[in-house]
């Protein structure tokens, strides 16, 4: 079967004041339909740039990205990018934000979708609340709901829970897994949190320091739901941390 996403030899260099800065250096991989792939790497290695290229926000200098066999040239509503900081429109209430990406839906359809997704992310009763009145975790859930409203095939998640506190982060992971168990999406998750990657992903790509190449690919075959404290997961975590050059005794990588 044809992969959902094919990434072939992506390279990108940014011009800076102190000369060209190579960020991505020949990255190739593919993602199957419905697969959850996490990308981890040291901070500043170009993870977000890679995700931006995949989603069509940035053009690579070399190589190409194909989704369903079609080259990616610009952002599409079939693949939505989720930022670390929620990008809700501050002048719209939650309902306004949720219906923002819909086009051509009838009013009844809109109402039905809003009710469905507001409930899915557990924000019932907040339809007419403005983003600044919500906590960071609630904003991120609203963002997720807005994204799911347009039924994207692919989610590009750029450290989506990175700005949340540890407890909310855990809850959001559980929510994401629950939502994905109901609505199948292909997911690419950029994170610097090894545990998060192992908790969520089917496969983990480890990037090298800048300029990023794929250093290792780890298939995570652990059964779901995954126990963060299971010996298998902890063993994988230890080997990934070692791969990233962090000895576990010096602290965690998150």
């Amino acid at each position: 079967m044809r992969p959902k996403i094919e990434v072939r030899g992506i390279a990108k260099t940014f011009p800076t004041r102190s000369g060209p800065l190579p960020v991505l250096d020949g990255i190739s991989f593919s993602v199957a339909d419905g697969e959850f792939v996490a990308v981890i790497g040291p901070s500043g290695c170009g993870k977000s740039t890679l995700l931006g290229v995949l989603a069509g926000f940035e053009r690579p200098d070399r190589g190409e990205v194909r989704v369903d066999g079609e080259p990616v040239r610009e952002p599409k509503r079939t693949g939505i990018y989720i930022f670390q900081q929620p990008a809700l429109f501050p002048w719209l209430d939650l309902e306004g934000n949720l219906v923002f990406g819909l086009n051509g839906a009838s009013p009844e359809e809109r109402r039905r979708l809003v009710a469905h997704y507001i409930a899915l992310v557990g924000l019932e009763g907040f339809e007419h609340t403005f983003p600044h009145q919500l906590s960071g975790g609630m904003q991120q859930r609203a963002e997720l709901a807005r994204v799911l409203m347009v039924k994207p095939e692919i989610l590009y998640m750029d450290e989506p829970f990175g700005s949340l506190d540890a407890l909310t982060r855990l809850r959001m992971r559980a929510e994401l897994l629950r939502i994905l168990s109901r609505e199948r999406h292909t997911v690419l998750l950029v994170t610097h949190d090894v545990e998060e990657a192992l908790h969520l992903a089917d496969r983990v790509l480890v990037l090298s320091p800048r300029p990023a190449r794929i250093q290792t690919v780890v298939d995570v075959t652990l059964p779901r739901p995954r126990q963060l404290s299971s010996p298998d997961l902890l063993a994988l975590k230890a080997s990934l941390l070692k791969e990233l050059g962090v000895a576990e005794s010096t602290g965690d990588a998150s």
Partner: protein, 253 residues
Amino acid sequence: MSGLDGRWLATFVPVAVLLALWHVAVVTSGSLIFPTPWQVVVGLVDLARQGLLLKHVVASLFRVTYGYLLAAALAIPVGMLMGRFATAHALLNPLVQGLRPISPIAWIPLAILWFGVGDLSPIFLIFLSSFFPMVVGTAAGVMTIDRKLIRAASNFEFTGFQLFRSVVLPAALPQIVTGMRIGLGVAWLVVVAAEMIAVNSGLGYLIIDSRNAGNRYDLVVAGMVAIGVIGFLLDTLMRKLERLDEVRWRYET
């Protein structure tokens, strides 16, 4: 004492002290031409009775309305172009920054040369004075739009006019409104100066004419009071605009 009483008291006491000092100063100095507060009130009532107050207020407001609306109609689109397109910014910003520090008062001779004596000269000066705050505010509002909002919208395949109407305009609106408020304030300052030279109606004319025609300083100060009150009302109106839901989000965290 309730908060409301406190606020009234805080407004009333300094005004009362000022009026009292004013009165005492006029009486003790024995000035024959500088009016006491009461004489100013009498002057205002006189002007109102003769219908002159209304006539001059309407004349000033009419000029401000024309000049200001013309300025807004040009400044907001130009500011948006400057905020959105680097080329437009590179071409226009030096002009804007170069012309902006020139006081509209300095333009008075040119205004008279180009537009003669009549309504057009003050309208032109008001246009100039309110154009710059609005163009700068609008450009800044558009330039400082959070990039991720634009990205989010383009991810939903919003482009061109749709992107502009759904994201750029609402995102920049608070700063556009602030620019409009500053612009109106400056316009009201400038109309008075412009009316002292080029026309024979309006509050600026009232002030200069009251002085020239017999040192009626009671009417001079009455004109100043009218200017202050109307300026305050205009600003209050614009502040109301800043409280609209579409604008208020910017000022809440």
